[in-house]
């Protein structure tokens, strides 16, 4: 299987000014490692504020101007420079955003998807993309506010296939949809993956992620703390990181035991393992060891000094 996207040690920082003068560098993603193969759906699961959207924007090269990125991102084996991602986004790398507010409220759907192009070829492709998701010609003449929730979601997916996407980044594409509708949308993703695209599926809903994903990367406070094949989630003892296990126990079919506490904010001075505050297995050296590396463990990756220990609940 060909690797489409390979992220190694990626960090994202924001430069902020406090009271106008004091400059402050805020790390929002730290040492992130992740890869997506062709035909594969990789779910990125993490709580709100863990940096999932910034990951997506970082790959697309559309982070705000007061940020900078470290580490390497490779696309189809080659380094993804800002110039290269500017060239590829919208053609080979597509974003499927969260909802209808990502469409220009004052522009008809058609011109938004054709990006103002006059070429007949582009218009034909757009028509076909809309048809593929059951949207007729009249959809192109509609404004975003005239679409129903489900239609809007299909328009957003259609926008990804107006190009020839090899990497699709879906950032929380299903909120507010009922289980059935969400399943249908995820079905479309599976189809796109089967056609050869790599899909990075960003969500905070582990249960939903497990219904389609091949691989799951778990995000905590801007770090990947575990990467595991989806099968591992059938048995909690195969999971590696205490946070992943806690997520597993929080799933409705495993007893709905929510984890207490919250992840630290990016600006809280971090010493030792960022999960220490919520971890039931936390040892004294966990609080002292800075920058715990991500390492191979039982066929997956984990960032923990004592991975795979039994969780007592």
């Amino acid at each position: 299987m060909e690797t489409i996207l390979e992220i190694e040690h990626m960090s994202v920082f924001f430069t902020q000014y406090e009271r106008g003068i004091r400059r402050r560098i805020l790390p929002v993603i730290r040492d992130l490692t992740l890869s997506v193969g062709a035909g594969q759906i990789v779910a990125v699961v993490g709580a709100s504020g863990s940096g999932k959207s910034l990951l997506a924007h970082g790959i697309l090269g559309i982070l705000p101007y007061n940020s900078h990125v470290e580490g390497t991102i490779r696309y189809a084996g080659e380094l993804l420079t800002p110039e290269r991602s500017a060239e590829l986004r919208g053609r080979e790398i597509a974003l499927i955003p969260q909802g209808v507010n990502y469409l220009d409220p004052l522009m008809k759907i058609g011109p938004q998807l054709t990006k103002g192009s006059r070429e007949e070829k582009v218009h034909r492709r757009t028509r076909r993309a809309l048809e593929r998701y059951g949207l007729g010609r009249e959809t192109a003449e509609m404004y975003p506010f005239e679409l129903s929730g489900g239609m809007a979601r299909r328009v957003l997916i259609a926008s990804a296939v107006t190009g020839t996407p090899r990497l699709i980044i879906a950032d929380e594409p299903t909120p507010g949809l009922d289980a059935k509708a969400a399943e249908r949308i995820l079905g479309h993703f599976r189809e796109l993956a089967d056609e050869g695209a790599g899909i990075l599926f960003i969500t905070h809903d582990l249960e939903l992620a497990l219904t389609v994903a091949d691989q799951v990367a778990v995000f905590y406070a801007g770090e990947t703390i575990e990467a595991a094949p989806a099968e591992d989630f059938s048995d909690v003892s195969r999971l590696r990181h205490p946070f992943t296990k806690a997520l597993w126990h929080a799933m409705p079919e495993h007893g709905f035991n929510p984890i207490s506490g919250a992840q630290p904010y990016p600006d809280e001075k971090a010493h030792g393992c960022p999960f220490a505050g919520q971890c039931s297995e936390c040892m004294s050296d966990c609080r002292e060891t800075d920058r715990i590396p991500l390492r191979e463990f039982r066929g997956g990756m984990v960032r923990c000094l004592y991975p795979g220990e039994e969780t007592v609940l």
Binding site: I62, R89, G90, R91, P97, Y102, P105, K115, E146, S159
Partner: protein, 330 residues
């Protein structure tokens, strides 16, 4: 369509009530004015040398003896019959005076309005795009400086530099001195209008540019701009296709709201440039206790401002598909 008519009807009723309120406030302010109309307009000495009958006739002319409520109701009754009364100072029907003065100001006001609107929009959008970088700091600093400068002071400054020192433009008035009315060319009028119009525009541009900048920044930070970038649209396409389109709606509102600022500013500017327009007439009427003229001018200018807002609302409805299509489907 029915919806639109209803909307316009409601607005017109509100406008009538507003005009009524404006006229009452103006009237009350004039009644509270410490200026005695006889002393101001006839003069202390002349008044002293007059017989009591003459003074009584003058008092009747200026209406100082009639109770306030009766005077106001009398004025209102006449206005409802289409008669705005006669100016006490100019001894001409108020409408004639306003018509002449408005004709004098219209070149000035329109030029300032169009110029400040267009340039303000262009500057605001540009600065919004370059936010935080040097074009932004430069233009924003300039705009903040200008909008915190009193208009009359700016007028005096321009007058000093361009008329007194450089001698490029006339020092005042709207036509050359000592030239027969029919010998005055459009070029003459234009030359006299340039400086006052420039003063008004400079202040107007700063306000509109600063407001447009805020709107543009909001638009550029929106989710749909992010997605447009993610779809591979170029920076130029993002700004021109999505940015301008979305900033145009608030720009309509801003542009028509600026009518009131331009008219308000013209009062001071026309005074500095001795430009015989509506603004100057307002000052004369106010200081000379010419109640019918002042009431007439306030009501007419309020009506113009209100009409501007109404046009803005109607244009907004025509430009925003959410309102246009929403109304069409009803």
């Amino acid at each position: 369509m029915k919806h639109r008519l209803q909307f316009t009807g409601k607005k017109l009723i509100r406008m009538a009530l507003l005009l009524l309120g404006v006229s009452i406030v103006t009237f009350l302010l004039m009644c509270a004015s410490p200026l005695d109309p006889l002393q101001t307009n006839v003069g202390q000495v002349a008044l002293g040398s007059m017989s009591p009958e003459q003074v009584e006739r003058l008092e009747a002319y200026w209406g100082t003896e009639t109770p306030a409520v009766q005077r106001y109701l009398g004025w209102l009754g006449d206005v409802l019959h289409g008669d705005m009364g006669t100016s006490l100072l100019y001894r001409q029907p108020v409408l004639t005076v306003i018509g002449q003065r408005l004709a004098g100001s219209v070149l000035l006001l329109t030029a300032a309005w169009v110029f400040s609107g267009v340039l303000g929009l262009i500057l605001g959008v540009t600065v919004g795009v370059f936010r935080g970088r040097w074009p932004d700091r430069l233009i924003r600093g300039y705009c903040l400086l200008i909008s915190s400068t009193p208009t009359f002071w700016l007028a005096i400054l321009l007058l000093l530099i361009f008329s007194v020192w450089l001698g490029w433009f006339p020092i005042g008035l709207s036509v050359p001195v000592g030239v027969a009315a029919d010998a005055v060319t459009f070029g003459d009028r234009l030359r006299h209008a340039v400086l006052p119009a420039l003063t008004l525009s400079i202040t107007g541009v700063a306000n509109i540019a600063l407001h447009t900048r805020e709107k543009m920044i909001d638009v550029l930070e929106s989710d749909y701009i992010l997605f447009a970038r993610a779809r591979g649209e170029s920076e130029a396409s993002v700004v021109l296709r999505h940015g301008l389109r979305n900033v145009s709606l608030p720009a309509i509102t801003l542009q028509f709201a600026s009518v009131s600022e331009i008219i308000g500013g013209s009062v001071l500017v026309e005074q500095v440039f001795s430009y015989p327009g509506l603004g100057q007439a307002a000052v004369t009427a106010g200081l000379g206790s010419d109640l019918p003229l002042l009431l007439g001018i306030t009501v007419v200018t309020s009506a113009i401002v209100f009409a501007g807002n109404l046009i803005a609302d109607l244009l907004y409805g025509a430009a925003d598909p959410r309102i246009r299509r929403g109304a069409a489907r009803e």
